[in-house]
Amino acid sequence: MEHFIRNQISNRKKAFVFFVASLLLFAILMGRLFYLCVICSGYYTKEAQELHERERAIKAARGIIYDCNGVVLATNQAVCTISVIHSQVEDKEAVIACLTKELSLSEEYVTRRVEKYTSIEKVKSNVPKEIGDRIRKYNLKGIKVDEDYKRYYPYDELASKVIGFTGGDNQGIIGLEVEYESYLKGTDGTILAMTDARGVELRLEGERRIEPIAGDDLYISIDRNIQQYATQLALQAMETKEADGVSIIVMNPVNGEILAMVDVPEFNLNEPFTLTDSQISSEIIQDELNKMWRNGCINDTYEPGSTFKIITAAAALEEGVVTVNDSFYCPGYVVVEDRRIRCHKTTGHGSEDFVTATMNSCNPVFITVGLRLGAKVFYNYFEKFGLFEKTGIDLPGEAGTIMHKLENIGMVELATVAFGQSFQVTPIQLLSTAAMIVNGGTRITPHLGVKAVDSITGEVTTFQYQTTENVLSRETSETMQYILEKVVSEGTGKNGAVEGYSIGGKTATSQTLPRGSGRYIASYIGFTPADNPELIAIAIVENPKGVYYGGQVAAPIIRQLFENILPYLDRKDYN
């Protein structure tokens, strides 16, 4: 054992050197740990949290839509969203059986969902709450039942094309629902649940909830009672006249608030994807749906016909090319260039002044007046009246006016434009312009939205709309009130008269293109009181059978409407 030599000084020194070197490396590692645990802690903590947390959205309740009396037109219903979490499913067969039965889905579809390897897979949304509760009672692992909201419209078809509806994610699709999306939508909340690497939620860690914020409530100018009554009248007219459709708009001509907007046939807002008549193939279903959802009052244009004489008269009076006392002679036709344009009364109205001519809706007189104005001046008035712009109504998809280009307007075109033919406008545009002419000359923006109220703070956002004063002189406006009152009291608009109220109005009967098809559009614009209008309404009956004159078909609709709603509005004001 003599080779067990003694440890030497140099060995001790070197062991110490190694120890010190190790110490140095330990110190470096501690520095590194300090850097990671303290300096980078915020970053890594955040990253790790994102890794551990799984988000599930909690849908925010959409804002409620109220009418001007506080009646709920659109609200929310509690529904459930059913999902499966693949990694948590224990009894796959039972899960598939349960979901197939309760959700009445095909077994194949459910199996595919359950077997899909994702952290969370949506099986069905908008499931009624009772079914959701029933599924919960099965107590099967891996099925997730999340509370959710579905839009519900208490009046089904009422104002369907105005209110609009929402899609699967509660987003607005048409109408006010899409126009006021940013107010109604609200902010979705989230459930942040801690999970392990497999995506299994950790019960002990609990959930972090960010509560959803409900959307703002929307108050609109529609009056449910008036809307309901107008709808009834429209349906009645459509039925008795076998018409293709009937539109009615009721508006306050002073501020532009729309009290009713009807465009029958309407559709059930709670089942917007169910076609009213369903004998069509799947390819054209979307087209048919779009047609069904179309709001004729703003999305479509038509040839206004004689109601447009309101505008021609106002322009001519304003320009001074005619006065109420100017006398005319109607032989039953008028020759413009080489064309002989007939009056609707082929025997002629004979001698008449401008007021009588309007009462008679005499085409030759209006052609003469239109020619006196000349294309350029007439066109300038259209521009001034705002006919070439959209009205700016708070509904999506408003159509513009279709009018000849100025350089293309010859004498014949000018003549036809003067009595409301050969161009197209939307009903809302015509009504808004008529409102301007009789309200003292102020161009208003027709609208439905009045205010939005924050669901939490109660903060009110009142919507502002553009108005332009003195588009027409007050004098001309008053003259027009007088003439149009005469139209109702003694002229073609007799059927629009309402006992006890002073009514102004103008009828129209326009033949649709192509001419000679026998298809007509009967319409009527009425307002009251005639000398200081507070209410203006338009009725348009598309393709009525039998008698098709505006005075006989459309004017009675507005008369009946006024007969009922005027006393109602008087009472409301009194209260």
Partner: protein, 379 residues
């Protein structure tokens, strides 16, 4: 013999205490890191704890035995240790071997599994201590002496790398050999040159990997430089460890509260256990663990420097080098200070063979320590 027995006045209780604290802490951490996954996989939260506890008890028995046996007894088996480890390493490729995760690192004898690389470490320590103390200060400075000393450990390291695909164990074995050679040799110059060479090779390697010359072989280095760019592949484990360490902060989430151990860090009880220590106990807990290891290494140095003979001193130096290298490399990997390679944390990471042989090494150190007398004999 009687005369010597009277001189036995010293037993290093502080070393024993530090080791026991590390073992107990390690068992707690193994339960903390593995219980969730063990419960899911084996329906027994204590599955890994039980296995580790068994190896620990066995290891403590071995340690106590070795502490009582005169370490000089083992000197004559030095060459046999090398031969046995070589055989065990080769057996990995035999039907006794078992391949786990693409690497054949274990051999199974009955229900007992042994990791030959762990056996090789203690064998190399014993062999180096023996040959260095035989060859003497003069011999070690000759080229022939250096070759004689290093040839077998390098072969063993090479076998560990080639046959068991265990680069980290090969590095540790080579590292132990070099440190023991360094301590035994009175020279510095050679080692400074060697260190410089290693640094240059490392720098060139990083440069080549970074500029894509190494292709897929360089991926591990690229993942080291930017783990987030390799988050779904090579850098995954590293990044998950960084999340764990970073989210621990100063004092951690509290013991048992780690989220990263819930499958985000695969087999968190193994190589990456230190990151969970950081997550649960924070910077404070991590530094406390490192301080325990520093005390352990320091006690080894004290024992080595007071050993009765060069063989004992070098034996303890080898153990000290083993602990120092393995702890430093493990923490460096976990904190992404160096590229990722599988190294366990002594006494704390899960692994029976490792625990058994580490405790055996401590037994040897305690045995050397017992020989120290308070009265320093005159030089």
């Amino acid at each position: 013999m009687k005369n010597r027995k009277k001189k036995v006045l010293f037993f290093d209780y502080s070393l024993l205490f530090v080791v026991l604290v590390l073992i107990i802490f390690g068992l707690v951490m193994i339960y903390s890191t593995s219980s969730y996954e063990a419960n899911l996989e084996y329906k027994d939260a204590a599955y890994y704890l039980k296995k580790q506890l068994f190896a620990t008890v066995l290891g403590i028995v071995v340690m106590v035995l070795l502490a009582r046996i005169d370490y000089r007894f083992w000197e004559k088996f030095a060459i046999w240790g090398i031969i046995i480890s070589a055989i065990l390493i080769v057996l990995v490729k035999s039907p006794l071997g078992r391949t786990v995760n693409g690497a054949s690192r274990w051999i199974y004898i009955g229900s007992l599994s042994i990791q030959p690389a762990e056996v090789a470490k203690i064998a190399v320590i014993l062999f180096m201590a023996s040959i260095l103390s035989r060859i003497g200060k003069k011999g070690i400075q000759k080229f022939k002496g250096i070759v004689t000393v290093l040839i077998l450990p390098i072969i063993i390291a090479g076998m560990v790398y080639a046959l068991t695909q265990n680069l980290s164990s090969a590095i540790i074995i080579a590292g132990i050999a070099i440190v023991m050679w360094f301590v035994a040799s009175p020279d510095y110059k050679k080692f400074v040159i060697l260190l410089t060479l290693v640094v240059i090779v490392a720098a060139v390697g990083i440069y080549l990997a970074h500029s894509d010359i190494l292709g897929f072989r360089g991926e591990r280095i690229k993942a080291w430089l930017d783990p987030e760019a390799y988050a779904s592949g090579t850098g995954f484990q590293t990044l998950q460890a960084l999340y764990a360490i970073g989210s621990g902060g100063l004092f951690g989430k509290g013991i048992g509260q780690s989220l990263q151990k819930l499958g985000f860090i695969p087999e968190a009880q193994n190589d990456m256990i230190f990151s969970i220590i950081c997550e649960e106990l924070g910077l404070a807990g991590a530094i406390a663990v490192l301080v325990l290891f520093i005390i352990l290494i320091w006690r080894c140095m004290v024992i080595a420097n007071n050993a009765q003979d060069l063989f004992g001193a070098l034996l303890v130096t080898g153990v000290m080098a083993h602990f120092a290298i393995q702890v430093i490399l493990n923490v460096a990997v976990v904190t992404n200070t160096i590229p990722n390679t599988g190294i366990t944390l002594p006494f704390i990471s899960y692994g029976g063979t490792s625990m058994l042989f580490l405790l055996a090494e401590i037994g040897l150190v305690l045995s050397v320590g017992r020989g120290i007398s308070f009265e320093e004999p005159n030089e």
